[in-house]
């Protein structure tokens, strides 16, 4: 999946700065101001988005440490429970999104090389390997097509399942009530 935030933001910022912003009427002061703010916020987003996961993990670690200190000074059941939960989440957050993406890329590359080698052999698991690749692609492409459904490329959008049913992870934030 290649349409990711970094390249989207890079292209959007360039288009906005070079094409759209110069076309905003100079005497429309509110539009001018908001256009500059949009550009600034998109730039901030583009710069910081790659670090969001590390930022949140870092904060959670320090909050958990603070909570443990406070809990030792003045025990509190709710605090103890939430500190334990926080520490448990930290322990599970082993791989960063960047590491995950790197692993996907590396595995794609190796699989691609392997497929080429198999296709160039006269004997071996050719047919079965091809079948496995085609089956895997079918599953993956349902997900990619669903991911991009709003773009309007599908000739039969109703044939695609929901994203939630395909990737089986919650799409809402995990932050609890205040």
């Amino acid at each position: 999946m290649q349409i990711r935030a970094p390249i989207v933001l890079q292209a959007v910022i360039k288009s906005f700065a070079e094409v759209v912003l110069p076309a905003v009427a100079a005497d429309n002061r509110m539009a001018q101001e908001q256009a500059q703010l949009i550009l600034g916020l998109l730039t901030l987003l583009g710069q910081r988005m790659p670090h969001e996961f590390a930022y949140d993990l870092d904060e959670l670690k320090r909050l958990a440490a603070l909570g443990r200190t406070l809990q030792q000074l003045a025990p509190d059941a709710a605090l103890t429970s939430q500190v334990q939960h926080g520490e448990e989440v930290v322990s599970r957050a082993g791989a960063s999104p960047a590491e995950l993406l790197d692993a996907v890329g590396a595995l794609r590359a190796v699989v691609g090389e392997h497929v080429s080698r198999l296709e160039n052999q006269d004997s071996g698991p050719g047919a079965a390997a091809r079948r496995a690749v085609l089956d895997c692609v079918r599953e993956q492409q349902v997900r990619e097509r669903t991911w991009l459904l709003m773009q309007g490329w599908e000739i039969d959008p109703s044939s695609l399942p929901t994203l939630e049913s395909l990737i089986a992870v919650p799409v809402t934030g995990t932050r609890g009530p205040p």
Partner: protein, 399 residues
Amino acid sequence: MTPESIEKDRPAADWVAMLRERYPVEPGVDRVLMRKLQRRPGPAYKAQTLDALVAGATALIRAEYAKEFEIGSARWLTGGASKLQLAFVLRWQPQGTPIETPMVLRMEPAASVCETSRLREHQLLQVFEPIVPVPKPYWVDADGKYLPYPALIYGFSPGVTKPSRTTSNVSGLGTNLGPQLRSRLAPQFIEQLARIHLHDIRDPRLSAFTVPPSPEMAALWAVNWWERVWLEDADEEVPLMRLAAAWMRTHLPQTDRLSIVHADYRTGNFLFDEDTARITAWLDWELGHIGDRHEDLAWSMSRAFGHYQEGGGEFLTCSLMGETEFIERYQAASGLTVDRGKLHFYRILSAYKAIAIVLGAGFRNAHNGKSHQDVLLVWLMGLSASLLDELRTLLDEVR
């Protein structure tokens, strides 16, 4: 060289040499692909002003036309995914009497999602001007001598690419022409494609083109062209593309008759008059080459360019007619046969080519900020998901 060791944004000379040796293509295609890689480490696209392009167009026209002239009413055009386009009016006296001629300047960005030659496009327009409706070609700046990048100037053609009361995705993709226009445009679509394919490939005006030297070379050059683009440009490995390339290499069809191939013949690439339903111009000849007619037929039949008939009917090729009707009417109009096996090969190649363009070249050019509309290229990358599924389906049918 492992994929991890290839720095595609700064291609090494030995890697480029390996690609050229392993994937030989038509010399004219090789030149533009080489130029692309040589320019790649260079600067991003520099935003152009109307004034700068008018000055460049003025310099080009002055070099070709000795009398007085004036350029006015310059404005940007949209529509294509690969080239920068500017409309203007030329006030001049080509026959001794002052006239105003609406024209279009069509210029490359720093790198294009379809890396092609303006000279080849200009020559094809010259050849086909009396044969099918095309914009009248005037001048070409093949090497960017007068303009910031290579460009050509042709006449402005009136018309629309889609009905004014309909919507479509970018670049005319997903256009629904509606039942009435469909029935009136379809015969022209077929008949004009036949005329293109029946034209003499030895036309002396096509000096920038090379005729494939053997019956299977047309297919091999086409596979090599797009595999090379994919390898040069793609960021993320896609194992299905490996599978497709390997299959095509072991199933290269022999061409029974060489034709001039438009190579982007589809709804969205012709203009028509809404009142008369007459096709007024065929655009985007940049990918044109000498090859197998099945390549054009297969490209037109891509799922990306059609839709299902209203109310749940059959799939309409280019929003015009069903696939069987398309083939039958083409055979009747051209007198040429359609081989289902060759057609399937070229449908696989068409899906592969489209993916190489939108996902490979689209990513690379947007990543390097090389075009005037990177945001459009990123949007188009999304089309690759359904194209990959089409490619998978086509490969599944031959397994």
